[in-house]
């Protein structure tokens, strides 16, 4: 039994190693600039909000609030679009059972095998042709076209019994009514998982905004702070305050949806 307790303490220590960088980030962001470069004490001697106030005060070179709003707008739009479009498509495939729906599903699944970086150059070319480069749409539309949502919801709907929906149809409910009043509520666990994963993926995306956006005003948080760090790279206090604020929404989501996030991650290796 003693070995088990040694293991418990050891694993907890390992856990701390994983959390430590984040704790250091938050603690250091409350240090005055003079103290940041002196790591003698991890805990600030003089706590200050100055870094946060500096970052939040709008500036031409690093409009943090603007980036934050861009990120919120883009990630929410992607999440909303994915949930609506994917659930409608999955409903068409599994419930209305449109001709060719099954073939379309296989096409979508096959497209998920294509490595993402192959799309980088051609999507840039298409966005350029549509005059969408350097707009929020350049990040929202391509991200909503991914196959994962359709795959997830189609699989989930196939596992649900159709009896309730058939009863609703017999009672004179329209297909659209069935979708909205019956299927969507039944799918809420899968929709929650899909929504959370989509939001996190969009919020953390680094390469697409780097490639498809051009003006500082239009950046999302990840690209904005990376740019800020590259130009003011010794101002660690402010950079870390920015990083902490960019990470806070995700930590909140993680705290609220830990079960869905960890479970969806767990199940990826347990297919078939």
């Amino acid at each position: 039994m003693k070995g088990r307790w040694v293991l418990l303490v050891a694993m907890f220590a390992v856990g701390l190693v994983f959390v430590a960088p984040m704790v250091l980030m938050v603690l250091t962001s409350f240090k005055p600039e003079a103290e940041v470069l002196n790591p003698e004490s991890a805990i600030p001697r003089h706590w200050t909000l100055q870094n946060y106030l500096d970052v939040l005060s709008w500036s031409e070179e690093a409009p943090f609030v603007r980036w934050l709003l861009n990120s919120i707008l883009i990630s929410s739009s992607v999440t909303f679009l994915v949930l609506v479009l994917a659930s409608l498509a999955a409903f068409g495939i599994t419930r209305v059972r449109v001709p060719g729906g099954g073939a379309f599903f296989y096409l979508v699944v096959a497209s998920m095998m294509v490595p993402g970086m192959l799309f980088l150059v051609p999507v840039y070319y298409i966005l350029n042709a549509l005059h969408l480069l350097d707009t929020p749409a350049a990040l929202i539309l391509p991200a909503s076209a991914g196959g994962f949502g359709v795959f997830l919801l189609t699989q989930f709907m196939r596992s649900l019994p159709r009896a309730i929906e058939e009863a609703a149809l017999i009672d004179g409910c329209s297909w659209l009514g069935v979708y909205y009043h019956v299927t969507l509520p039944l799918c809420s666990p899968a929709m929650a998982t899909l929504g959370v994963l989509t939001f996190i993926g969009s919020w953390n995306d680094f390469v697409s905004p780097l490639v498809y956006l051009d003006s500082i005003q239009n950046y999302t948080l990840p690209v904005g702070i990376a740019l800020y760090q590259a130009s003011y790279y010794t101002e660690y206090g402010r950079t870390l305050a920015t990083s902490a604020m960019a990470t806070a929404p995700l930590l909140l989501i993680f705290a609220l949806f830990q079960k869905q996030i960890v479970e969806s991650m767990s199940s990826t290796g347990l297919k078939d």
Binding site: V19, V96, M113, M117, L120, N204, K271
Partner: protein, 291 residues
Amino acid sequence: MSAPRLRGLLGWGYLMPYASLFGLFVLVPIGVAAYLAVMQFDLTSPGSAGFVGLRNFADAWNDEYVRRAFAVTAKFAAMMVPSLVVVAFSLAVGLNAMPRGRNLVRAMVFLPTMFTVAVTGILWQWFYNLEFGLFNFVLKNLGLAPVPWLSDKNIAMPSIVLMSLWWTSGGTAVILLAGLQNIPRMFHEAAALDGADGWRGFWSVTFPLLRPVVLFVIVTNLIGAFQFFPQAQLLTGGGPELATRGVVQYIYETAFNGYRLGYAAAMSWMLAAVVAVFGFLQFWLMRKEAS
């Protein structure tokens, strides 16, 4: 037209919103990628576009920088994937054996996967800083010489791998842990009855049963590792002396700094071909496991 048929066609109304985006941003790009790869296409002088057949591929094949970039990407994959599997596996086995507190520690090791790569890069650049970084501060206090974590061409890549391990091994550990917990208890009990416990039980019972999950983890991370780019872009910019510039970064620079879209598209296909080999390998191995 019969009523069910009409209904079926109207039913495409449910698919159309998604299908139109899918067509425009998934199917059309694959076609455009093929078109660009056989064109000399320079965005700075659009009039100069012309069909060049396979010349982009031939040029890339002979481009010394393409070879170096492939070597860098392969090096990252060769260092990252085995160490990731070892670290994540150790974490999963440790978590699985914990008498209590498992969910708390699992959440702790999983936390870094929630970070955007940009914040991860900023944090670790700070740790790795030559003069006032955390690591060299610790080394100095131990009376050791500072290490040029990111500015030495032999150390930069291991430094990137270390950061990537912090960032992703918790997520992989969670997958492996689920695999461990999926093994029915009776297998362990039967093994213990036969006198195979501890390490022997692990290697003769647990590991073979876990093999499909381990294979899945290896192949998906191999595919991920071959798309190596943001970590280097953030930490080293591909340096020093291009020692950390992988294929995707070279594609990025060719397409979006040099605006040579045709050449970049050809390189993308070459990398996609390599990744596809791993994809087929995964498919084949899964098939073999299943039969």
